[in-house]
Symmetry: C2
Subunit: 222 residues, 2 copies
DNA sequence: TATTGTTATTAGGTATACCTAACTATACCA
DNA sequence: TGGTATAGTTAGGTATACCTAATAACAATA
């Protein structure tokens, strides 16, 4: 019952890291949904993670990574995003398949291979979806981009980051041409939770809030 | 109880494939030694493999891969050796560490990634230790090389293949400069299981039979 | 404050894949 | 042909990590 971080444990840490990135309350139930497991299973694993001092848990409040946990999670996310870069840059694996493939690679990369991989890729700062690759020491670069969903009409910017990497979602965005480095302008924000109309590459698209929430944009002077 | 080939199962298939390559009798005990497990564990797993029609087992005789088993094993060895090539060619991981790292990668490579990887590497025919990479259809190229241990004095050839990939063994050979593509000449074969004296790169080395058994040489006209 | 829907936990199972210790079967030699 | 070393199996355990069904705890509201 030592520091034995198995693939199973790693998936929980990864999920917690991602949910924290979106500052969502990470209750047992949310974790279970994210990991596609049953709440009972999560209760059990959270107990183990707590015993290993990787998380703290206050029922009905949330599960929180400890320092130790966050460090381990950052290392894992680093390996995940480096794997995505490898798969995209060296193997030309399609955009929407990167995440799931990387989710397997992340568990088999040793420290040494991680260093060599990062080097071979030119020490990239982000994954192919624009999400930051944590440094080897666990620090994550601050991000000044903001979600499309919070921007006001008429503002412009460059897409830097997509924070939902589910295949169907990425396919949808790829079809619209909404991916990192593309310039967008907010045409209109419909009231009462209505769509956000954006202009990109000369075309206009009406995006639901759910979608706009996961598209981050670096605003440019208007 | 279907075709669920887990990482555990894969390790057994891999071991069987390697032991068959050396045409060694693959008894429960040999398998246990090779996998660093206890015989009781092997008995149990062999039962499962038999149920899945991946092997047949005759006690005191040996465990044999079925067609199905051999195909699965060849696919695994293909992924293993492609992984080694990736780690060596693209990441510059040292010779003696390739095998153990690849042993983890082999279990997380999908068919699609395998294809892309092979392509990106230029469809290599062998791993960095000279061992053949099975084709995608499971066939393995015939090898005309023979082990140093069976060669007679005065014969010459080029090393093509090292069939023991344990780190200490590879370090030993690397120190002597005995690796694929190096020319060697048998100086003398000492009787009664004594050493084999070889000349390589101008130096002479006395190799034990255990060592010579794992060095394969393609004879050249003397 | 009592009700109710949500969230979480417990109890009891399953499956994989290891282990040790005790026992059995076999091969092979004398 | 019997004895013995070697090989193999069985029985009973452990640990991880899932599950369902039943139950408990809580938050928020009526
Ligand atoms: Mn993952
Ligand atoms: Mn990504
Ligand atoms: Mn392996
Ligand atoms: Mn190799």
């Amino acid at each position: 019952m030592e520091t034995k971080i198995t693939a199973g444990v790693e998936e929980y840490l990864e999920a917690l890291f991602h949910l924290e990135e979106e500052n969502r309350a990470v209750q047992t139930k949310a974790l279970a949904e994210h990991l596609k497991l049953k709440p009972a299973s999560v209760t059990e694993m959270v107990k183990r993670l707590t015993a290993q001092k990787l998380v703290t848990h206050t029922p009905y409040k949330g599960v929180y990574l400890t320092e130790r946990g966050r460090t381990a999670a950052a290392a894992l996310v680093r390996r995940h995003r480096l794997s995505e870069r490898f798969l995209a840059d060296m193997l030309d694996v399609p955009w929407d398949e990167l995440h799931d493939e990387a989710c397997k690679f992340e568990h088999v990369i040793s420290d040494k291979v991680e260093r060599k991989l990062s080097e071979a890729l030119g020490n990239p700062a982000t994954c192919p979806h624009g999400n930051p690759i944590p440094e080897a020491d666990g620090t994550v670069a601050a991000d000044t981009a903001e979600p499309l969903v919070g921007m006001s009409a008429r503002s412009k910017g460059r897409i830097t980051r997509i924070t939902n990497e589910e295949p169907e979602f990425l396919q949808y965005l790829a079809n619209l041409g909404l991916m990192p480095d593309v310039m967008v302008e907010i045409e209109e924000v419909a009231p009462f939770g209505g769509p956000i109309i954006v202009k990109a590459r000369g075309a206009k698209y009406a995006l639901g809030r759910q979608v706009a929430q996961h598209i981050f944009v670096k605003p440019s002077a208007s």
